[in-house]
Assembly symmetry: C2
Homo-oligomer: 592 residues x 2
């Protein structure tokens, strides 16, 4: 995807040069792209990543023009007023956890780093900019032509971390104009990714760690790439797989799926299945339909025959992977008995059926009744695995319906979650913001009548203080601004075993003394003036990190109803700094 | 975008061949892409579209693998059981209008047609499929290799139409396997597009036709292409422009934007603006800051100086397009007076400022107070345009807040709507479904315990019956199935001036006799066995059609609170057909 954007990529030749040419010379470009798409390992192992130290966004739309118009007009004005190169610090953070919860999973960092690393304007993009600005000074286009991220550094919390309001997720340092030009794209990349990852983590917590959770949302997702992002970040946040084949191909996410209602309704009678045979492991042929009908007779159940025919057709094709959708006509009256008869027939010739999918009705009741039938049949025919037949549920599930199912009791093994997971129905947007906090060494503030919207001025570091029991207790922001002397910066760094005064940013009476057992520095330098610092972690590893992180957070911060807020505090130094800047920036109003 | 998908495009050479080579030979591919991205007209005028009759999706992710896994396993089973070539009819439709409303705007058809037209598997994609199916029969890969849409036809309602539940938006006719393989992608393309277009239309109705409505949602959108789709379909549904520069470049949507808070906070004092001069139309230099300060003194208002400096810096850059964000420190106490002083200064040297943007606070009050100040100053200095200064509002607007503003009264000229427009916060998914309705000439039904979810079996046509006043009265579905004789099909076609019995699909007592003044056939053949029937309409034209359509729908169907449902009915023929199939498909349960 990434190197094939229409308006980007200066050197298509060099892309070709690094291509393997499995398809022969005339398909060089194509085979290169093939390589990219075929295996996720490409993303991490591609030569260009290591050779030039440059990496490219995974999504072709992620270019410098995927931005708001005002970023370009502002950059123009900054350049015209010779302000573009002033050193600045911007914070990217959110003010409120989504879904009424008290935690968020940070995601999207990899694409952020890729975008920043690759930041440059192609000639086509420069032409666009020229058209967008009336009477555009040619010098500005020249300026943009040479502009890249070689003066930009990113400090970030590790992707997949559990994070909290006001702690910067990414701190961007560099010249004013380019930092401004990065804003919208960075927000777009972090907002949705973190929202989906958080949503997946919440669903994962609801489902429980012993169950399987799949993301099945492609058809209802917010556009083709809304779907691709959703699959990626749902996996990062805890899903075990997706139905989205392209997400499997691009990101290596396990992919799952069997058949739909239309497959069942496409069969009308036994005439639709002229060949009803199946071969066992020894190559011997059996009539699967006759065998299934024999079992139905033994069990004395009358079912919809066309459904049985569809199941037999499917089982013939996938004898080792037979999982049937059982609610097309009547779940307990037809679907489950039909499945059982085919599963018994398969068992007779050495194949083990997988289970059923329930897509409508009372999932608690239907799953329990289905389980009972599996147990009874398993007992009657002395087939052990029958009782453990997998039950997949997939009807408009969300966090609340899963929690309700848990209360009612159920026999579901796999939760396939679609719409609610990928569109974040409960809250479809995360409100990350990107704020200038320091310019030319001076802390800057953005005021607001809503106190919660006042920014925390100055360059800041963040530390997570861990308690004796291994749970994070509080996140502490320290002041590390350019005008703060080194000793003061060092003095603020919290040390294990030492008492640390932590202050609420806006309410002076809210203070707490914390003695951490362990201290984690939250921000790492991930992109250093144009260069990647460490190799990008694999999606798999980010996912594992995220799942592991969640086990350390206190349960009351994570729970779905009335969770406890996690504290984010300031050192005295940062608190004083905030209130000094605030006082000096605020007009004293006169009342007449 | 479209021709550069990693795993697609058999003939990159032919793409190059049709390129204009403005950048010289070595950049052939690039200049071709430049052409694509530079002007939306490319999409419609590109040679390959007309030469080969083939068109390609606009989005690179839109490939046959952007699908659910089970479509591939089903296709495999259909092929293994020799069912893949059976002629079928599938309906794509929704069951419930979104946002608690009673209408929907249909969008996404262009990309659907592009996808179907271009449908084919590349070698890379075939490799993926081979890996996904255990013990995959090589014959299936051969089958997929030659598979394209040359046996597929699409009948569709015109994109941009106002549509209602159960009326098929797209009727897909063709061999079973390929029609099944199209399902997920078609749903993904129609669901989000129609959802956004409908949301935009609702916002447009709330804003009113005399105001300007802009889409400003990129940063909160659901991923990079969630943003691109949102910009496209928000425009289609009635937005006047976007902030998204890339959407402008790709789709030709007007783009708008000025500056952000960070631009204001990046200025600290007059020292930050060494050059305070501006040239008038005659090239004469003036000190803009001094002039603005003079006016502030005359008006006797004390404002935040750094904000004034920022405004002066911006106005120097865009003297003809000066629109200031006025809420960084204090809207009425500093922002508006600062804007006024700069606008007066600009006016003195022949430039007309545009207006202000309000991004926080009570928009009703602030817009009215700002308007008063503009009027007073305009009067004091005898400057007519001052009273009409544009007021843009952009703080978390949605349909309800806009309707509330209308009730409270306001002086807003431009509504810039972000999060709520692009993420459809009020309902982030539309539930389009894709159902098999006919196979091998036989109507098929999908039953459900929820009556509303029962499908309408058989191939159907749809007619919109228009009343004397020019308003649509009812949509009528007729039965045109393969087993319905030609006379019966013809007899059902409603004629102007004739009484037509229209029946509710599920409630037999709900019937109505309609005498239409005019009858519109809703479905047109848009893709005929592999070929585009008519050129694709331009986005502009779809938008105009949509806006025009909305003017014909009765206001009570469109209104935000307690709208009247629009009727969708069946002919007697279709009603009988539905209930026959339903009865014969339903098991008679035995109670023991």
């Amino acid at each position: 995807m990434s190197q094939s954007t229409p308006t980007k990529r200066k050197k298509p030749e060099s892309n070709n040069a690094s291509a393997s040419t499995t398809n022969g010379g005339s398909h060089q470009l194509h085979s290169r792209e093939l390589k990219r798409a075929t295996t996720v390992s490409y993303i991490y192992e591609d030569e260009e990543n290591t050779m030039e130290g440059k990496i490219k966004p995974l999504n072709g739309f992620v270019t410098p023009l995927l931005t708001d118009m005002y970023q370009i007009t502002m950059a123009y004005s900054l350049w015209k007023n010779n302000r573009h190169d002033i050193p600045t610090v911007f914070d990217l953070y959110f003010r409120k956890n989504p879904f009424g919860g008290e935690f968020t999973v940070f995601a999207g960092l990899e694409e952020v780093i890729r975008f920043v690393s690759d930041f440059h304007y192609t000639e086509a993009e420069l032409n666009h900019v020229r058209e967008l600005i009336p009477d555009c000074d040619p010098g500005f286009i020249e300026y943009l032509r040479q502009l890249d991220s070689s003066d930009v550094s990113l400090y970030a919390i590790k992707e997949g971390s559990v994070v909290f309001p006001r702690v910067p997720l990414v701190r961007v340092e560099g010249p004013l104009a380019i930092c401004q030009l990065l804003e919208t794209t960075l927000l777009c990349l972090v907002n949705f990714a973190s929202l989906i990852a958080t949503n997946a983590a919440r669903h994962r917590l609801a489902v429980g760690k012993d169950k399987i959770m799949l993301e099945f949302g492609l058809r209802r997702a917010q556009g083709p790439d809304g779907a691709m992002s959703a699959s990626r970040y749902a996996y990062l946040g805890g899903a075990d797989g997706t139905s989205n084949v392209l997400a499997h191909c691009f990101f290596g996410i396990p992919v799952k799926g069997t058949h739909a209602h239309s497959f069942v309704t496409s069969y009308h009678s036994t005439d639709d299945l002229p060949d009803q045979t199946i071969k066992d492991a020894n190559g011997k042929s059996h009539n699967l339909l006759d065998m299934a009908l024999k079992y139905l007779k033994e069990l004395d159940i009358k079912t919809v025959t066309s459904e049985l025919v569809a199941f037999v057709a499917y089982a013939r094709t996938f004898p080792k992977g037979f999982l049937a959708l059982v609610d097309t006509y009547d779940t307990l009256g037809s679907g489950v008995p039909n499945f059982i008869s085919v599963a018994l027939a398969l068992n007779e010739i050495g194949y083990q059926a997988l289970g059923i999918r329930l897509d409508s009705g009372d999932l608690s009741y239907l799953s329990k009744e289905s389980r009972k039938m599996f147990q009874q049949v398993g007992q009657r025919y002395s087939i052990d695995f029958f009782a453990k037949m997998q039950i997949v549920a997939s009807n408009d599930l969300n966090e609340n319906t899963i929690l309700a199912l848990n209360r009612q009791g159920h026999e579901i093994d796999v939760f396939a979650i679609g719409t609610n997971l990928v569109t974040c129905q409960a809250q479809p947007a995360l409100g990350c913001v990107y704020k200038l906090v320091e310019i030319n060494g001076l802390p800057r503030i953005k005021l607001s009548q809503e106190t919660n919207k006042v920014t925390l001025p100055g360059r800041k570091d963040a530390y997570r203080l861990i308690g004796e029991a291994g749970h994070p207790l509080i996140d502490l922001l320290t002041y590390s601004g350019a005008n703060c002397d080194k000793k003061k910066i060092a003095d603020q760094v919290p040390q294990p075993g030492q008492k640390i005064l932590c202050l609420h940013p806006f309410e002076e009476q809210k203070r707490v003394i914390v003695t951490p057992s362990k201290v984690q520095k939250l921000h790492q330098l991930v992109f250093d003036k144009g260069s990647l610092v460490d190799p990008l972690p694999r999606l798999e590893d980010i996912r594992s990190f995220c799942l592991e992180q969640l086990t350390h957070i206190r349960e009351d911060h994570l729970r779905a109803s009335n969770p406890t807020p996690y504290k984010v505090s300031l050192t005295q130094e940062l608190y004083d700094q905030l209130h000094d800047v605030w006082m000096s920036s605020r007009l004293v109003k006169e009342m007449k």
